[in-house]
Symmetry: C2
DNA sequence: TTGCATCTGTATCGAACTGATATATATTGG
DNA sequence: CCAATATATATCAGTTCGATACAGATGCAA
């Protein structure tokens, strides 16, 4: 599933401009999927060419025309087709964990700082989700929201419980270096 | 931190060929970071140009020469510099979760199947980590290995506990459609 | 023993995607 | 009153993926 397909999915929820689709990615899919203008606008052009979405232009004074996209019947079929297929594996990349892989090359204080920051970052993300969760309505959205909270909390708990493994490791190495 | 930098990091653990670096990504960084030949080989060329790694060629009979890369002193400094910087945010993309976002468009049976498969996939990943964890030695590696297990287990637990929210939702929608 | 899969090793290419940047104006809040 | 944020379009260079190509070695099962 590429961004083109997911734009189609967002349009099943109602007509939107490219700008609004970007916002939807940020507001409701932040946990799950990311997309930049550099992929959204070309995607919408291609979808239009292929007849999977239609586009009406709303001329505005002293601004670029607003282009409102709607999904077509054939677009809807194609989207259902796409989500019926087995989803590809998650893609995950964490610089934080990559750095920890080389913790022995850093001073112990740096490791502690890094973990402290990670914990407060995850806590912040949970707080954001808490706020969003209230206003969200469907069980489906609550499910995804709580999914995120659960995973973030599991990470915080793990870091708190086992950080000493890294911190003592680094400490020993730096002592050995003396 | 890009793949170029992480290749440098892998070379701090010992000399290696491009092929071996790829294997290291698969064997020891699978949880954390991914890289394909299409990024590794160009990265090594660029690192060589910049004098951050050196390369000696080992000619082999009826095979392309084996190129063994070593990190240089300046490469080592540059790598430490890179990991001292604040790590960028994780990048995460999950087609599985994206599909769940549109669960209301799928039959309830499909949702159940999807979740069943996800649970066994995560269980498999935990089993793989269990096996690897034994043979790994340093506290640092154990830390990362158990990190992965913990997160995967949290996901399984969550899915088991709350899948009914999605399954009943889908059921209601399909009844409503009748 | 033959044949098939997997391993070792190099490398490139098109397509996908990111992140920054450009261009304009309106609105909101401190 | 000014700065930040929001609305709205779009492109571009650089990064990365996934597939593919080539080619012999090695292992293993029928």
């Amino acid at each position: 599933m590429d961004i083109r397909t997911l734009c189609l999915g967002i349009l099943t929820m109602g007509d939107a401009t490219g700008y609004e689709i970007k916002k939807t990615f940020e507001d409701r899919l932040d946990l799950i999927f990311h997309a930049s203008y550099g992929s959204i606008y070309p995607a919408l052009n291609k979808l239009t060419e292929e007849g999977l979405v239609s586009c009406r232009e709303l001329s505005q004074v002293k601004r670029p025309d607003k282009k409102i996209y709607s999904i077509t019947a054939s677009g809807r079929y194609q989207f259902i087709d796409a989500i019926m297929k087995r989803p590809a594996a998650d893609r995950f990349r964490s610089e934080f964990l990559a750095v920890l892989m080389f913790a022995h090359l850093l001073p112990a204080s740096k490791i502690s700082e890094l973990i402290d920051e990670r914990i407060s970052d995850r806590a912040q993300k949970i707080e954001n989700l808490d706020n969003e969760c209230d206003s969200k309505l469907t069980d489906r959205e609550k499910f995804l929201c709580n999914f995120g909270r659960t995973i973030y909390q599991a990470e915080i708990d793990y870091l708190k419980d086992y950080r000493h493994l890294l911190e003592s490791d680094a400490l020993m190495d730096s002592r050995a270096a003396d």
